[in-house]
Amino acid sequence: MSGQTALLADTTTRLLTDLVTKESVEAAEKGAWPHELWRALEEGGLTLPLVPESRGGAGGTWQDAHVVVRAAGRHTAPVPLAETIVAGWLLAGAGLEVPLGPLTMAPVRSEDRLRLSRAGGGWRLAGTAPRVPWGAAALHAVLVTESDGQAMVALAQTSAARVTADHNLAREPRDTLVFEDATVVAAAPAGVGVSMGSILLYGALVRSAQMAGALEGMLQQSVRYATERRQFGRAIGSFQAIQHALAALAGHAAAAGIAAEHAFRAADRGDPEFEVAVAKVRVGEAAGLGAGIAHQVHGAIGFTYEHSLHFWTRRLWSWRAEFGSESRWAAELGRAVATRGADALWPNLTAR
């Protein structure tokens, strides 16, 4: 990690430690938008790490984005920071202006398609995009569509869509946006390396880092609880059964962390398909197993709404299924590996 990236990690962590509290996450779950948090993130230059400075971004790398997104996951920041980062990158890549405010991206599922068509000097958008992260809470949505066989990136106000509100397990908005010949703010051919699958790919990338961060936060919380909670006259963390369970959780968190970081580095190289698949599979598996261990260590109190463990675990249970589950990415990875053949596995692995 470069010195600059490490500094960014510190800045992000400090900001989130101050502004993401149990109360603010609970308020967000009830639908309140965390104005102060978002303003601080924007003023701190953390929302657009991949947008050039000339367009109002930080002009950084995917590895910069990684430390920001990972910290957001660790702190369960109730804002579309990961979505804004990817959406900003898509806009900048297409040479479009990047508006201020939270962004989202759509469609998020490979089976959904939006239609972009010429209308006079501008563009119009039609189609339904379900499960859009933060949906109406984001001011703008960045859409990837096809027009005349070419991948296009379009920017639309979410107010231009008919919105059906919904949410995931962590009560993060996952709205359905219906565009009915809606006006588009701007549209342009997608940038280099962006295709119809890019939202799924880069969405899986950022969810991997969010989950890796959440696993770290959950591990720290679980260790803290095990040293504080006393039963049979001693801290439960002094029991070998608890120690070994937490050691296993630490292993999953460590594996998740490096898998995610490796995928971001591949994104800087421009061809992260293999590493993103690896990360989403490995981190998603760690999410399920890790959440199980954390709850077991916490006992009944961790099952209450009052305790904050669920802020991590409910996110992990939803995030692992978003932008392609482990089985979806494992199937893609497995087919690619089988096609290249067994003898190519090791050379390919060591070449990356």
């Binding site: 070998q240 630490a250 460590a254 497995g334 053949g341």
Partner: protein
């Protein structure tokens, strides 16, 4: 309380260039080797192969040239090691000495010991066995009872070592003996010695493993004389030495590659008869493999930087052996093929070998329980 940090580690260009050389060497020397023999990997003991590896300068790579070493980086050594293991090369006639015995002598040995042993190790001509465990001593290593009693000019040794891999094929061993009984302080009074396994009074008996193979031995010492100049370091320094040595042992790339031969056979099978379940199984295992390689590389980077990655190495071994043990289970669950010893397909034979061998993966070099204890201590729980 810390969360372990595994930093990404890039191999330098010279390491990548070396990789091509090693691959070419392995292609030539391992041509036509059946998958089930490759699956034995570091169980394979082949002195001729080890001599060739030594001649290429790939043993003692990081050691000073005056001891026959090559003064190359830990990362270059890492590349050689991972290529050998990925290919299933029979490395065990040199790599115990390369990994443990040599570094131990470099750090704690006398100048005379280094001059005498290191060049032969680096040449691939001298294999070492390790004498640690005893009949009543497994994970609780400090409880060993084999005594080395001071006599004129050296020590007289009495006791028994077990699970001594390849003692019947090695000329030398480094063994841990009790030189003093310190009441209530079992970690004190331990010392390590270079032992010529042909010394009078040593009896080596085979311990056959559950596959019917002979790697392990029981080594009985009956009034064996060990000269004083073959003691490694100071009297009573043994515990510090073995913990250092076990850190070398646990930090290598071998701790996730033991079942690679089976994964490769599974991929061959799935490529021939592709279906969704097979693709998911392969993809999931490859995701684990790729992640473990990054973790292992990260530990190698810490070694290269002169850091002490004991905790991270324990994490890699715990996660890595779990992965190694899962592969035969996944293959069985997916295909339900009967594992075989001789007949059947390559896949069946490799499965037969690994399903039987897998239990040892989380025992050798520190059990899963010992490792999780180390990790828990790193988490601040002990």
């Amino acid at each position: 309380m810390s969360v372990f940090h595994f930093a990404l580690n890039d191999l330098p260009p010279e390491a990548q260039a070396l990789r091509a050389e090693v691959r070419e060497f392995l292609r030539a020397t391992m041509a036509g080797r059946a998958p089930v023999r490759r699956a034995r990997s570091w169980g394979g003991f082949d002195p001729e192969f080890s001599r060739q590896v030594g001649a290429r300068g790939w043993i003692g790579m990081t050691w000073p040239k005056r001891y026959g070493g090559h003064e190359r980086s830990f990362l270059e050594r890492y590349v050689v090691m991972e290529e050998m293991l990925a290919a299933g090369a029979p490395v065990s006639a040199h790599w115990i000495a390369d990994r443990q015995s040599g570094p131990l002598l470099l750090r704690f040995g006398t100048e005379a010991q280094r001059q005498r042993f290191l060049p032969a190790i680096a040449g691939g001509e001298l294999a070492f066995a390790i004498g640690m465990s005893e009949p009543d001593t497994g994970s609780d290593l400090a409880s060993i009872r084999t005594r080395a009693t001071r006599v004129d000019g050296g020590y007289r040794v009495n006791g028994t070592k077990v699970w001594t891999s390849n003692a019947h094929r090695c000329q030398w061993a480094i063994a841990l003996f009790r030189t003093e009984v310190v009441p209530d302080k079992k970690h004190e009074g331990l010392s390590q010695f270079l032992v010529d396994l042909r010394s009078p009074g040593i009896t080596i008996r085979p311990i056959i493993d559950l596959t019917g193979a002979h790697h392990f031995n029981e080594v009985v010492f009956q009034d064996v004389l060990v000269p004083e100049d073959l003691r490694v370091g100071g009297e009573g320094d043994g515990w510090k030495q073995v913990t250092t040595e076990l850190a070398f042992e646990r930090s290598g790339p071998e701790r996730y590659l033991s079942s690679l031969a089976l994964l490769l056979e599974l991929i061959r099978h799935v490529a021939k008869e592709p279906d969704e379940r097979g693709a998911v199984a392969v993809g999931r295992l490859v995701a684990h493999l790729a992640t473990l390689r990054q973790m292992s590389l990260s530990v190698a980077g810490m070694l290269q930087a002169g850091e002490n990655p004991n905790l991270e190495a324990a994490v890699v071994k715990d996660v890595g052996t779990t992965f190694e043990q899962e592969i035969p289970e996944v293959v069985h669950g997916l295909l339900g093929l009967e594992p075989t010893i001789d007949g059947g397909s390559d896949l069946q034979q490799v499965l037969g070998y690994l399903v039987q061998t897998a239990p040892s993966f989380s025992l050798r070099g520190g059990t899963r329980e010992v490792l999780r204890g180390i990790i828990a201590r790193g988490l601040g729980l002990r």
